[in-house]
């Protein structure tokens, strides 16, 4: 019993690490642009499929991964420059429709370029472990490791460095940001670059186990969003904890209740949290100026 429990926990934590990386990407963009990027999960799928393709073209694993991650980062920046920045009055309604359009477009491109099948990268180097009957795949350690190093690095950047703090303040206090030499344009580009980067990292580390498929990004991105909501959509740390919790909870539901309900967990939590803490979850209540 205990072995099973630990086995499910381990699987949940590795899956949760992927959600956490996506949540970090979503929050990066949200704090600067007040846009929830529905295409966030598609970055992961694009990186995964791109890397698979590079490997099939004869490139070594890590070269393919680096190339895919950098490409996706550039794609994310291009989306910001060519599409998001073009809209003069980016209302909530417009931003949702726009990123939804981008997401649909990216999915269609992935489908046209790499076809409808799910593909996976080969597993990363390392050997699987069995600790007290619990099998831990080396790839799962890579996933958790990606969260610790990449996710942790981004959080450190935002929370500890002067530049990062100014970037976060950019949305509320453009003046403060300018003092350290960040223009709103640069802040926005940087935010999308970070979002593309962490999304791509999440995509490549999860690809060997969870595979990459053209249509998989939406659900993945949504789970990142749920994690971000759990963290109040402003705290990276809380979002990461929320993501890990979500991953573990999904794993328990799939193991102990019914695997078909796995994907429903995130949305029940989302609606429950939003309903119970309607006010508490709205960012910083913008001061009413009337």
């Amino acid at each position: 019993m205990l072995t099973d429990f630990l086995q499910l926990t381990a699987a949940g934590l590795s899956q949760g690490s992927v959600y956490a990386l996506l949540a970090v990407g979503l929050i990066s963009v949200y704090t600067v642009r007040h846009v929830i990027n529905i295409a966030q999960g598609d970055f992961a799928m694009m990186a995964g499929l791109g890397a698979v393709w590079l490997i099939s073209a004869g490139m070594p694993l890590f070269v393919s991964i680096v190339a895919a991650v950098l490409t996706v980062t550039l794609v994310s920046v291009a989306i910001e420059r060519l599409i998001i920045a073009r809209v003069k009055k980016l209302t909530t309604l417009v931003s949702i429709i726009l990123t939804l359009g981008v997401s649909t477009l990216l999915q269609a491109i992935l489908l046209l370029v790499w076809g409808p099948e799910a593909r996976g990268l080969p597993v990363f180097p390392g050997s699987d472990l069995t600790i007290a009957g619990v099998s831990i795949r080396a790839q799962e350690l890579w996933m958790v490791g990606a969260l610790v190093f990449v996710g942790g690095g981004i959080v450190f950047f935002y929370e500890k460095t002067r530049f990062g703090k100014a970037l976060r303040a950019c949305a509320e206090q453009p003046v403060a940001a300018r003092i350290v030499g960040i223009s709103p344009v640069m802040a926005s580009v940087l935010a999308f670059a970070i979002a593309g980067f962490v999304g791509a990292i999440a995509g490549v580390v999860s690809s060997p186990i969870y595979l990459s498929i053209w249509s998989g990004g939406l659900l993945l991105g949504l789970k990142g969003f749920v994690a971000a909501v759990l963290g109040g959509f402003s705290s990276f740390r809380a979002a990461i904890v929320g993501a890990l919790l979500l991953g573990v909870l999904e794993s328990y539901v799939a193991g102990y209740v019914a695997s078909g309900l796995r994907d429903a967990v995130a949305f029940f939590i989302l609606i429950l949290v939003l309903v119970i803490r309607t006010d508490g979850l709205v960012l910083k209540p913008t001061a009413v100026r009337v």
């Binding site: 086995q7 186990i209 969870y210 078909g260």
Partner: protein, 397 residues
């Protein structure tokens, strides 16, 4: 009041668009000819096919499309049926139910077909069933679920019923003395009802179903299901799904070191299974038609000749081996052609002829249709195959 103008323009645009492309075919009563029984008895014979060519069922639909195209060309080269040319119209349903319904309606109402083949999967086939029945046009589905044909006058299908496949598995399990089974099935129409069949069929054989787990068609992580299977006291496991999910389930099974024998279904009988499952595939047993292990068949086997010919034609035309799914299309085509040759295109007579199919040797087995059995295959159409080193071979105890 500028904004109000669109209320004229919108419907006007609709009207113009539709009127401009208009043609004379009636939308108000099915076929254009006045013969109430359906189709003309002269001129080309029209066969429509609705297949899952794109979308989730593409693995099934594409080889079926290839097969039908190839067979229609060959038939017409040889003079068609009774000197009448055969016009084959293939429509893609994009693996959706409403796509299948739209396609079937189009075939019946605008192309005026005499017979419909398809769809590749259960859901779209069910969506077409009522349309074919309302129009009283015979339909031969290429999908497995028995619900497609249950109590239907007009609908037939070529793959084995699930029950027949499960009987084969359970017979083998009984012979090996397995008492308790675990089932891990996919959550699509293919996997539904399997647990009930196992419980029913197992009762006669002293086999009980210990537990059932399910997975989505698009699932990639199977840790929770396999963790539960590992913890159960089942003697053997049945994994019931199609590729790639069923192959990935097999892979997780290996990674989590579950050491129980595994049966999979005829849904994994393609090379994609080995790509997904890797080394974990070794030792898996599946029931399947003889196409899978054709080279090992006895020369005297009645199916040998048919299978060899089909394999040769298919790989000559498309450069890849034919899959079992292509076989279902091959058999459906031959059943249809035989019935058309016998009864012509009067839909009632054609239906009777299909129901009267006897001893038709096909790729998937030998068909014997009756009023009660619109599938026509029994357990003798199946063999057991074992995966070893990336290929399927005939399983010998």
């Amino acid at each position: 009041m500028k904004q109000s103008r669109i209320r004229f323009i919108a419907p006007l645009a609709v009207v113009t668009a539709l009127v401009l492309v208009g043609c004379s075919t009636s939308n108000l009563g099915g076929s254009t000819d006045s013969d109430p029984t359906g189709a003309a008895e002269t001129g080309p014979i029209k066969i429509g096919a609705v297949l899952d060519i794109t979308g989730g069922g593409a693995n099934l639909g594409v080889p079926q499309q290839n097969t039908l195209t190839m067979l229609a060309a060959a038939l017409n080269e040889n003079g068609g049926i009774d000197g009448r040319e055969v016009e084959l119209t293939i429509v893609d349903n994009q693996s959706t139910e409403d796509g299948a319904a739209k396609a079937a309606t189009k075939l019946i109402e605008s192309d005026d077909v005499d017979l419909i083949l398809g769809a590749s999967r259960t859901g779209p086939s069910l969506a077409m069933r009522s349309i074919a029945e309302a129009a009283e046009i015979p339909m031969i589905s290429l999908a497995a679920n028995a619900a497609i044909i249950t109590d239907s006058k007009w609908v037939f299908k070529t793959p084995q019923n699930d029950v027949v496949v499960l009987e084969t598995i359970l017979d083998d399990a009984e012979s090996k003395g397995y008492k308790k089974l675990a089932l891990v099935r996919d959550a699509s129409g293919f996997g539904e009802g399997v647990a009930d069949y196992i419980t029913d069929l197992g009762a006669d054989r002293g086999i009980t179903l210990e537990m059932t787990e399910s997975f989505e068609l698009t699932a990639t992580d199977f840790t929770p299901q396999m963790t539960n299977v590992r913890a159960s006291d089942a003697d053997a496991v049945i994994i019931w799904g199609i590729n790639p999910a069923a192959g990935l389930a097999q892979k997780a099974y290996g990674q989590l070191a579950v050491d129980k024998p595994v049966y999979q279904s005829h849904g994994v009988a393609s090379p994609a299974f080995f790509e997904a499952a890797g080394d974990a595939a070794d030792g898996v047993i599946i029931p399947n038609g003889r196409l899978l292990i054709a080279s090992e068949l006895d020369a005297a086997d009645p199916q040998r000749k048919v299978i060899d010919a089909f394999e040769a034609d298919y790989s000559a035309a498309y450069g890849t081996p034919a899959s079992s799914f292509a076989g279902y299309a091959y058999d459906a085509w031959n059943i249809a052609v035989n019935a058309l040759a016998e009864a012509g295109t009067d839909s009632e007579a054609l239906r009777d002829a299909i129901e009267g199919t006897t001893d038709l040797v096909g790729v998937s087995g030998v068909y014997n249709m009756t009023a009660d059995d619109h599938s026509g295959l029994d357990a003798s159409s199946l063999i057991l195959a074992e995966a070893q080193g990336g290929v399927w071979s005939l399983y010998k105890d």
